[in-house]
Symmetry: C2
Protein backbone atom coordinates (compact mmCIF):
# COMPACT_ATOMS: atom_id res chain seq x y z
CA UNK A 1 0.00 0.00 0.00
CA UNK A 2 1.32 3.48 -0.76
CA UNK A 3 1.29 6.02 2.06
CA UNK A 4 -1.57 8.55 1.85
CA UNK A 5 -0.50 12.14 2.52
CA UNK A 6 -3.00 14.22 4.53
CA UNK A 7 -2.04 17.37 2.57
CA UNK A 8 -3.18 15.69 -0.68
CA UNK A 9 -6.65 15.29 0.88
CA UNK A 10 -7.13 18.88 2.03
CA UNK A 11 -6.01 18.47 5.64
CA UNK A 12 -4.31 21.43 7.35
CA UNK A 13 -2.95 21.88 10.88
CA UNK A 14 -5.40 23.67 13.19
CA UNK A 15 -5.98 23.66 16.95
CA UNK A 16 -9.51 22.25 17.39
CA UNK A 17 -11.88 23.90 19.84
CA UNK A 18 -11.22 22.56 23.36
CA UNK A 19 -7.81 21.18 22.41
CA UNK A 20 -4.36 22.63 23.07
CA UNK A 21 -2.37 21.08 20.22
CA UNK A 22 -2.52 21.50 16.44
CA UNK A 23 -4.19 18.55 14.69
CA UNK A 24 -4.82 17.68 11.05
CA UNK A 25 -8.29 19.02 10.21
CA UNK A 26 -10.17 18.43 6.92
CA UNK A 27 -10.89 21.74 5.15
CA UNK A 28 -14.12 20.36 3.68
CA UNK A 29 -15.94 18.68 6.56
CA UNK A 30 -13.94 19.46 9.74
CA UNK A 31 -13.00 15.82 10.48
CA UNK A 32 -10.04 15.83 12.89
CA UNK A 33 -7.37 13.29 12.00
CA UNK A 34 -5.82 12.44 15.38
CA UNK A 35 -2.45 10.76 15.11
CA UNK A 36 -1.32 8.51 17.94
CA UNK A 37 1.84 6.56 18.63
CA UNK A 38 1.85 3.21 16.87
CA UNK A 39 2.62 -0.12 18.51
CA UNK A 40 5.02 -2.51 16.79
CA UNK A 41 4.96 -6.10 18.05
CA UNK A 42 7.64 -8.66 17.31
CA UNK A 43 9.83 -11.39 18.69
CA UNK A 44 13.30 -12.83 18.88
CA UNK A 45 12.49 -16.43 17.95
CA UNK A 46 15.01 -19.18 18.56
CA UNK A 47 15.38 -22.81 17.59
CA UNK A 48 18.13 -24.32 19.71
CA UNK A 49 21.07 -21.93 19.46
CA UNK A 50 19.82 -20.24 16.32
CA UNK A 51 17.66 -17.13 15.90
CA UNK A 52 15.21 -16.29 13.14
CA UNK A 53 15.77 -13.33 10.83
CA UNK A 54 13.79 -12.32 7.76
CA UNK A 55 15.12 -10.32 4.80
CA UNK A 56 12.74 -7.48 4.02
CA UNK A 57 10.91 -7.56 0.67
CA UNK A 58 9.38 -4.12 1.31
CA UNK A 59 10.53 -0.58 2.04
CA UNK A 60 11.86 0.83 4.25
CA UNK A 61 15.16 -1.07 4.28
CA UNK A 62 14.29 -3.58 1.56
CA UNK A 63 16.95 -6.32 1.38
CA UNK A 64 18.04 -5.87 5.01
CA UNK A 65 17.52 -8.44 7.77
CA UNK A 66 14.99 -7.93 10.51
CA UNK A 67 13.09 -9.72 13.25
CA UNK A 68 9.52 -10.78 12.51
CA UNK A 69 7.60 -7.70 13.67
CA UNK A 70 4.96 -5.27 12.48
CA UNK A 71 2.13 -2.97 13.42
CA UNK A 72 -0.29 -4.31 15.99
CA UNK A 73 -3.85 -4.56 14.67
CA UNK A 74 -7.09 -3.53 16.33
CA UNK A 75 -8.66 -5.97 18.79
CA UNK A 76 -5.65 -8.25 19.16
CA UNK A 77 -3.32 -8.56 22.12
CA UNK A 78 0.36 -7.68 21.76
CA UNK A 79 1.28 -11.35 22.19
CA UNK A 80 -1.21 -12.41 19.51
CA UNK A 81 0.17 -9.70 17.24
CA UNK A 82 3.75 -10.93 17.65
CA UNK A 83 2.61 -14.49 16.81
CA UNK A 84 0.67 -13.23 13.76
CA UNK A 85 3.69 -11.36 12.44
CA UNK A 86 5.95 -14.44 12.76
CA UNK A 87 3.34 -16.45 10.85
CA UNK A 88 2.97 -13.79 8.15
CA UNK A 89 6.66 -13.13 7.63
CA UNK A 90 8.26 -16.53 8.24
CA UNK A 91 5.38 -19.04 8.17
CA UNK A 92 6.10 -20.18 11.73
CA UNK A 93 3.91 -20.80 14.75
CA UNK A 94 5.92 -19.42 17.65
CA UNK A 95 5.53 -19.95 21.41
CA UNK A 96 6.06 -16.73 23.39
CA UNK A 97 8.03 -17.18 26.56
CA UNK A 98 8.43 -13.68 28.02
CA UNK A 99 8.50 -9.95 27.32
CA UNK A 100 12.03 -9.15 26.20
CA UNK A 101 11.85 -5.36 25.81
CA UNK A 102 9.80 -2.21 25.39
CA UNK A 103 11.57 0.19 23.05
CA UNK A 104 10.62 3.77 22.24
CA UNK A 105 11.39 5.47 18.93
CA UNK A 106 9.91 8.91 19.64
CA UNK A 107 10.98 10.51 16.34
CA UNK A 108 8.52 8.25 14.53
CA UNK A 109 6.18 7.85 17.53
CA UNK A 110 6.65 4.11 17.83
CA UNK A 111 6.49 1.82 20.84
CA UNK A 112 7.97 -1.59 20.14
CA UNK A 113 7.01 -4.58 22.27
CA UNK A 114 9.52 -7.34 21.63
CA UNK A 115 8.96 -10.83 23.02
CA UNK A 116 11.23 -13.84 23.45
CA UNK A 117 9.83 -16.89 21.68
CA UNK A 118 10.76 -20.36 20.49
CA UNK A 119 10.11 -22.17 17.22
CA UNK A 120 8.67 -25.69 17.09
CA UNK A 121 11.16 -26.74 14.38
CA UNK A 122 13.58 -25.44 11.75
CA UNK A 123 11.08 -25.21 8.88
CA UNK A 124 10.43 -21.69 7.61
CA UNK A 125 8.07 -20.44 4.90
CA UNK A 126 8.70 -16.75 4.15
CA UNK A 127 5.60 -14.72 3.28
CA UNK A 128 5.20 -11.93 0.69
CA UNK A 129 6.89 -9.32 2.92
CA UNK A 130 10.09 -11.40 3.21
CA UNK A 131 12.65 -12.17 0.49
CA UNK A 132 13.92 -15.01 2.66
CA UNK A 133 13.81 -16.28 6.24
CA UNK A 134 16.74 -17.99 7.89
CA UNK A 135 18.04 -19.31 11.19
CA UNK A 136 21.39 -17.85 12.25
CA UNK A 137 23.91 -19.00 14.81
CA UNK A 138 25.05 -16.02 16.91
CA UNK A 139 28.36 -15.77 15.04
CA UNK A 140 26.58 -15.84 11.69
CA UNK A 141 24.29 -12.84 12.32
CA UNK A 142 24.74 -10.28 9.49
CA UNK A 143 25.26 -7.28 11.83
CA UNK A 144 26.09 -4.89 9.01
CA UNK A 145 22.93 -5.80 7.15
CA UNK A 146 20.34 -5.47 9.93
CA UNK A 147 17.42 -3.22 9.06
CA UNK A 148 16.93 -1.12 12.21
CA UNK A 149 18.77 -0.18 15.42
CA UNK A 150 16.10 -1.92 17.51
CA UNK A 151 16.88 -5.23 15.77
CA UNK A 152 20.45 -4.90 17.07
CA UNK A 153 19.18 -3.99 20.54
CA UNK A 154 16.76 -6.91 20.69
CA UNK A 155 19.32 -9.47 19.55
CA UNK A 156 21.86 -8.23 22.11
CA UNK A 157 19.25 -8.13 24.88
CA UNK A 158 18.14 -11.64 23.93
CA UNK A 159 21.74 -12.82 24.17
CA UNK A 160 22.19 -11.11 27.56
CA UNK A 161 19.42 -13.16 29.18
CA UNK A 162 19.93 -16.41 27.26
CA UNK A 163 19.38 -19.27 29.72
CA UNK A 164 17.56 -17.05 32.24
CA UNK A 165 13.93 -18.01 32.75
CA UNK A 166 12.91 -14.69 34.25
CA UNK A 167 14.29 -11.15 33.83
CA UNK A 168 13.12 -7.52 33.78
CA UNK A 169 12.10 -6.25 30.36
CA UNK A 170 14.77 -4.13 28.68
CA UNK A 171 14.29 -0.57 27.42
CA UNK A 172 16.35 1.38 24.85
CA UNK A 173 20.10 1.13 25.49
CA UNK A 174 21.21 4.29 27.34
CA UNK A 175 21.24 7.33 25.08
CA UNK A 176 19.81 5.48 22.09
CA UNK A 177 16.73 6.89 20.38
CA UNK A 178 16.44 4.48 17.49
CA UNK A 179 17.31 6.91 14.69
CA UNK A 180 19.44 5.65 11.84
CA UNK B 1 -13.56 17.07 23.88
CA UNK B 2 -16.57 15.19 22.57
CA UNK B 3 -15.92 12.06 20.52
CA UNK B 4 -16.26 12.54 16.76
CA UNK B 5 -18.17 9.74 15.04
CA UNK B 6 -16.84 8.74 11.60
CA UNK B 7 -20.38 7.98 10.36
CA UNK B 8 -21.36 11.63 11.00
CA UNK B 9 -18.57 12.67 8.59
CA UNK B 10 -19.53 10.41 5.68
CA UNK B 11 -17.11 7.54 6.42
CA UNK B 12 -18.18 4.01 5.49
CA UNK B 13 -16.42 0.65 5.81
CA UNK B 14 -14.72 -0.46 2.60
CA UNK B 15 -11.74 -2.68 1.79
CA UNK B 16 -9.17 -0.35 0.14
CA UNK B 17 -7.32 -1.53 -2.96
CA UNK B 18 -4.30 -3.61 -1.92
CA UNK B 19 -5.64 -4.15 1.61
CA UNK B 20 -7.38 -7.21 3.05
CA UNK B 21 -9.42 -5.61 5.86
CA UNK B 22 -12.33 -3.17 5.84
CA UNK B 23 -11.30 0.37 6.80
CA UNK B 24 -13.23 3.62 7.29
CA UNK B 25 -13.15 5.43 3.94
CA UNK B 26 -14.45 8.98 3.30
CA UNK B 27 -17.27 8.95 0.70
CA UNK B 28 -16.26 12.40 -0.57
CA UNK B 29 -12.49 12.26 -1.04
CA UNK B 30 -11.42 8.65 -0.43
CA UNK B 31 -9.26 9.41 2.64
CA UNK B 32 -8.73 6.15 4.55
CA UNK B 33 -9.08 6.54 8.31
CA UNK B 34 -6.80 3.81 9.69
CA UNK B 35 -7.50 2.97 13.31
CA UNK B 36 -4.65 1.55 15.39
CA UNK B 37 -4.38 0.31 18.95
CA UNK B 38 -3.84 3.14 21.43
CA UNK B 39 -1.11 3.22 24.06
CA UNK B 40 -2.02 4.21 27.61
CA UNK B 41 0.90 5.15 29.85
CA UNK B 42 0.68 5.43 33.62
CA UNK B 43 2.30 4.62 36.94
CA UNK B 44 1.81 3.28 40.42
CA UNK B 45 3.45 6.11 42.36
CA UNK B 46 4.37 5.67 46.00
CA UNK B 47 5.53 7.88 48.83
CA UNK B 48 6.77 5.67 51.65
CA UNK B 49 4.08 3.04 52.18
CA UNK B 50 1.37 5.03 50.47
CA UNK B 51 0.23 4.99 46.82
CA UNK B 52 -1.24 7.80 44.76
CA UNK B 53 -4.77 7.62 43.40
CA UNK B 54 -6.78 10.30 41.59
CA UNK B 55 -10.57 10.59 41.53
CA UNK B 56 -11.73 11.06 37.95
CA UNK B 57 -13.38 14.36 37.02
CA UNK B 58 -14.17 13.08 33.51
CA UNK B 59 -16.08 10.26 31.87
CA UNK B 60 -15.81 7.34 31.65
CA UNK B 61 -16.05 6.41 35.33
CA UNK B 62 -16.30 9.95 36.69
CA UNK B 63 -16.01 9.93 40.51
CA UNK B 64 -14.06 6.66 40.62
CA UNK B 65 -10.44 6.35 41.69
CA UNK B 66 -7.68 5.63 39.21
CA UNK B 67 -3.92 5.70 38.75
CA UNK B 68 -2.42 8.68 36.94
CA UNK B 69 -2.49 7.44 33.33
CA UNK B 70 -3.63 8.52 29.90
CA UNK B 71 -3.05 8.32 26.17
CA UNK B 72 0.55 8.57 25.06
CA UNK B 73 1.16 11.56 22.77
CA UNK B 74 3.14 11.71 19.53
CA UNK B 75 6.93 12.11 19.78
CA UNK B 76 7.22 11.31 23.48
CA UNK B 77 8.60 8.16 25.07
CA UNK B 78 6.34 5.96 27.20
CA UNK B 79 8.30 6.95 30.32
CA UNK B 80 7.95 10.67 29.50
CA UNK B 81 4.24 10.12 28.90
CA UNK B 82 3.76 8.46 32.30
CA UNK B 83 5.57 11.38 33.97
CA UNK B 84 3.45 13.90 32.03
CA UNK B 85 0.22 12.22 33.10
CA UNK B 86 1.23 12.26 36.79
CA UNK B 87 2.01 15.98 36.47
CA UNK B 88 -1.27 16.72 34.67
CA UNK B 89 -3.51 14.71 36.98
CA UNK B 90 -1.84 15.07 40.37
CA UNK B 91 0.67 17.92 39.97
CA UNK B 92 3.58 15.69 40.89
CA UNK B 93 7.02 15.14 39.41
CA UNK B 94 7.56 11.39 39.63
CA UNK B 95 10.74 9.32 39.32
CA UNK B 96 10.20 6.13 37.31
CA UNK B 97 11.92 3.10 38.72
CA UNK B 98 10.91 0.17 36.49
CA UNK B 99 8.33 -1.20 34.09
CA UNK B 100 5.62 -2.78 36.23
CA UNK B 101 3.32 -4.25 33.58
CA UNK B 102 2.13 -4.39 29.99
CA UNK B 103 -1.62 -4.94 29.91
CA UNK B 104 -3.80 -5.61 26.87
CA UNK B 105 -7.47 -4.62 26.62
CA UNK B 106 -8.23 -5.96 23.13
CA UNK B 107 -11.95 -5.10 23.18
CA UNK B 108 -11.03 -1.42 23.10
CA UNK B 109 -7.66 -1.96 21.35
CA UNK B 110 -5.58 -0.59 24.21
CA UNK B 111 -2.07 -1.44 25.32
CA UNK B 112 -1.30 -0.12 28.79
CA UNK B 113 2.30 0.42 29.88
CA UNK B 114 2.34 0.82 33.65
CA UNK B 115 5.50 1.89 35.45
CA UNK B 116 6.55 1.83 39.10
CA UNK B 117 7.50 5.27 40.36
CA UNK B 118 8.17 7.27 43.51
CA UNK B 119 7.04 10.73 44.60
CA UNK B 120 9.47 13.33 45.94
CA UNK B 121 7.06 14.30 48.76
CA UNK B 122 3.46 14.10 49.92
CA UNK B 123 2.24 17.32 48.25
CA UNK B 124 -0.34 16.81 45.52
CA UNK B 125 -2.05 19.35 43.25
CA UNK B 126 -4.88 17.69 41.28
CA UNK B 127 -5.36 19.01 37.74
CA UNK B 128 -8.62 19.63 35.84
CA UNK B 129 -9.13 15.92 35.05
CA UNK B 130 -9.08 14.96 38.76
CA UNK B 131 -11.68 15.77 41.41
CA UNK B 132 -9.05 14.99 44.04
CA UNK B 133 -5.70 13.24 44.45
CA UNK B 134 -4.75 11.33 47.58
CA UNK B 135 -2.15 9.03 49.07
CA UNK B 136 -3.55 5.76 50.41
CA UNK B 137 -2.07 3.20 52.76
CA UNK B 138 -2.66 -0.30 51.34
CA UNK B 139 -5.51 -0.99 53.77
CA UNK B 140 -7.20 2.29 52.88
CA UNK B 141 -7.45 1.66 49.11
CA UNK B 142 -11.09 2.08 48.01
CA UNK B 143 -11.26 -1.25 46.11
CA UNK B 144 -14.98 -0.96 45.39
CA UNK B 145 -14.55 2.48 43.89
CA UNK B 146 -11.65 1.86 41.50
CA UNK B 147 -12.32 2.98 37.93
CA UNK B 148 -11.00 0.10 35.82
CA UNK B 149 -9.90 -3.54 36.20
CA UNK B 150 -6.35 -2.64 35.19
CA UNK B 151 -6.11 -0.29 38.19
CA UNK B 152 -6.80 -3.29 40.45
CA UNK B 153 -4.24 -5.39 38.54
CA UNK B 154 -1.54 -2.72 38.73
CA UNK B 155 -2.01 -2.13 42.46
CA UNK B 156 -1.85 -5.86 43.21
CA UNK B 157 1.16 -6.35 40.94
CA UNK B 158 2.88 -3.38 42.62
CA UNK B 159 2.21 -4.97 46.02
CA UNK B 160 3.55 -8.34 44.82
CA UNK B 161 6.99 -6.90 44.03
CA UNK B 162 7.17 -4.31 46.81
CA UNK B 163 10.77 -4.27 48.08
CA UNK B 164 12.11 -6.04 44.97
CA UNK B 165 14.50 -3.95 42.95
CA UNK B 166 14.19 -6.01 39.79
CA UNK B 167 11.37 -8.20 38.44
CA UNK B 168 9.82 -9.30 35.13
CA UNK B 169 7.03 -7.03 33.89
CA UNK B 170 3.56 -8.40 34.56
CA UNK B 171 0.88 -9.03 31.94
CA UNK B 172 -2.90 -9.36 32.39
CA UNK B 173 -3.84 -11.73 35.21
CA UNK B 174 -4.69 -15.16 33.69
CA UNK B 175 -8.03 -15.13 31.91
CA UNK B 176 -8.61 -11.40 32.44
CA UNK B 177 -9.38 -9.25 29.40
CA UNK B 178 -10.05 -5.95 31.13
CA UNK B 179 -13.77 -5.70 30.39
CA UNK B 180 -16.04 -4.33 33.10
Amino acid sequence: MSIQRPSDFGFTHQVPSGDDKPRLVCGDCGWIHYVNPKVVVGAVCSFGERVLLCRRAIEPRRGFWTLPAGFMEERETSEAGACREAMEEAGVSIAIDSLLAVYNIPRISQVQLMYRATLPGPDLAPGPESLEARLFLWDEIPWDDLAFPSVVWALNHWREVQGQSSFPAFANPPGQTGNY
